[in-house]
Symmetry: C2
Subunit: 379 residues, 2 copies
């Protein structure tokens, strides 16, 4: 195996694939990066057993400037190899596998020889064929991921809750996550209705890695689902994730259908006020802020307190406060993450009782995104 | 005590003073920030007992927009107070000390009440008067600090080596640091000769903090030295540091006066090659790279090796190689830090023998800056 390539092209692909590689793996060969060179191009693979990323550099594309002298394959120590490629002196690099998997990397007057491993010992990726792959808009998928992963649980005690529940049926995709204190549900309309229904749980960590790969230059993502794997195809890159086993709890019944008090806030202004109030609550043993809504005087006040440090009180700007008066306490960190997921919009907050979950929806589009936060009992 | 001020002005001064405040102090009141308001202005003070920073916001300067309602003083929890000021909603803030050192901070509709402490319990700063303060160019001082602190020792076993030795005499200031493996010495010519000679050791950590305050907008720094304190005056800010006690070793005799081999390198190119070679040496138990200089064939080769991972060999670009052939091994990290301190210049490296320290000086100005590195025995 021997090839010469433009270093920046190789490094970009190497960085993409390296996202999947962890130094903490229990399978030693997975600390390596697999390179397979055929007449048609170079394929790089990285994996941590949960996520696998495979990316292709095409031999026919002139931009890649890939010159193949002989085909073959090798596994190289990923972290170390990346460091070398980053620091090579010239814009072009040559990689050549010699006897005993010894690999020579040259660029300018710099010559590295590193010990590789036999690529035949590298685990194989599953083959996933779907009769009808789903096409998703990359920007919308990224937003959907960022809006739902915030509510994923960090606790391994209920593994299914560490994932996002995807339900695909007809012309709709629904994604929902809950850690049992809060819930975030986003739906989107598919351009083409699916002929096969899917109900899968994708690990939150996989989705976070995937969303980092969805840069502005990417338009579409192809989604293929198999029994225990999901595959996202992004241009020349294939992103595989295992699925979580088990049944996701029925979350539809958790979302209240009526309310007794509703109020609208500009999300960024409410976020800033919550952040100020949380400065105090973070210094306190129970991390809680209090919101009082008075319909008669049309006032909304947020209040944070720490016996050791002090307290904060802030009169909030709002619109359309109606229903019953309310005093409610909640974890400001849940509220912060929920509001960050809304961005620059106006949110409608709807309450039923001081100890019942309340909901947040964008005022402009109430049907596709809802968040739910469980309040905290303070007496 | 009550005043109103432009928040950005207050925050900038608060950030400067906060550099001196550590949450790890054993003296509880030093986790606080002292504010003293008189008719002429507001003085903020922070200290960790080693470093103290005092900064003044003038009442007469219109930019500060400081409106004084009543004078007084208070100590507020520094980290927490900074967080509040950063997050206040409006461009103006008001601070008012009430009964029992309770302090009210208001901005827009946000009202914080935090618990303060009696400023009379805050330690007093030393008064340092020097008959003839020294004026230093801020940019040159910053360079001098960055060039010498790299060689300061991290080991507390010989405390004097954790500082930089400043010797001021006549028209010259000499700063030198060594951790006994390497040495860095910088001298500079004073604009005005000193009438008093000084010989002091300033802690490396203090100098690092000081250099961070020397931003591009600062032209001059005034230096005053007392028996166990040094004071740097930067505009409206006074930076105090304690001095290290003890005698600094005589370093002048360590610097070789002759050499048997000399060679010149462009500092950035040599740095890049050393960084590549160190990728391998870092994977090895003894972190060492080898340099061979052959005068007859006019070649310079750097070599790094790790038995587990591989090796690297690189032919170096150089000029003016003369003297005897040489093969020498050294710690690449010392070399990297030394070369970074030179910037974009050409360096002359001078060797006497494979186990004797070698020196680096800028080719352009050999008299004001010299670094010395002790090689490593590898056989």
């Amino acid at each position: 195996m021997k090839f010469t390539i433009t270093r920046s092209v190789f490094l970009k692909t190497l960085n993409d694939v390296s996202r999947a590689i962890s130094s903490k793996t229990t399978i030693p060969i997975l600390t390596g990066l697999k390179l397979v060179l055929s007449d048609t191009g170079l394929v790089l693979t990285g994996s941590d057993a949960d996520i696998s990323i495979e990316s292709r550099i095409d031999a026919t594309s002139e931009n890649n400037d890939l010159q193949i002298e002989s085909t073959g394959s090798i596994v190289l120590p990923a972290r170390f190899f990346s460091e070398i490629v980053k620091r090579l002196p010239e814009n072009t690099m040559t990689l050549e596998v010699k006897d005993n998997f010894q690999t020579l990397i040259t660029s300018g007057s710099s010559e590295f020889t590193i010990n590789g491993l036999d690529a035949n010992n590298y685990p194989r990726l599953p083959e996933i064929s779907a009769p009808q792959p789903l096409m998703l808009n990359a920007e919308v998928l990224k937003q959907l991921i960022n809006q739902t992963v915030i509510a994923v649980s960090n606790q391994e005690s209920r593994p299914v809750l560490t994932g996002v529940h995807f339900v695909i049926s007809g012309a709709q995709l629904m994604a929902v996550a809950t850690d049992s204190h809060r819930l975030s549900q986003r739906t989107l309309d598919l351009e083409q209705p699916t002929t096969t229904d899917y109900d899968v749980i994708i690990p939150g960590k996989s989705l976070v890695e995937l969303s980092r790969m969805l840069t502005d230059d990417i338009d579409q993502v192809e989604l293929r689902i198999a029994e225990n794997q999901v595959l996202f195809i992004i241009g020349q890159t294939a992103f595989y994730s295992r699925l979580l086993e088990g049944n996701y709890p029925d979350t539809t019944r958790l979302i209240p259908t009526s309310s007794t008090t509703t109020v609208e806030f500009a999300a960024p202004a409410l976020l800033a006020a919550i952040q100020r109030a949380s400065l105090l609550s973070h210094e306190s043993r129970n991390n809680v802020v209090r919101l009082t809504l008075d319909v008669a005087t049309q006032s909304a006040i947020i209040y944070g307190n720490s016996p050791d440090v002090g307290n904060v009180e802030e009169v909030l700007q709002f619109s359309a406060l109606s229903g019953e008066n309310l005093e409610i306490s909640f974890n400001p960190d849940y509220m912060k993450e929920a509001l960050q997921a809304f961005g620059q919009t106006t949110v409608e907050v709807a309450f039923t009782a001081p100890l019942r979950p309340f909901t947040l929806v964008p005022s402009e589009d109430r049907d596709h995104f809802i968040q739910l936060i469980t309040p905290v009992r303070t007496y």
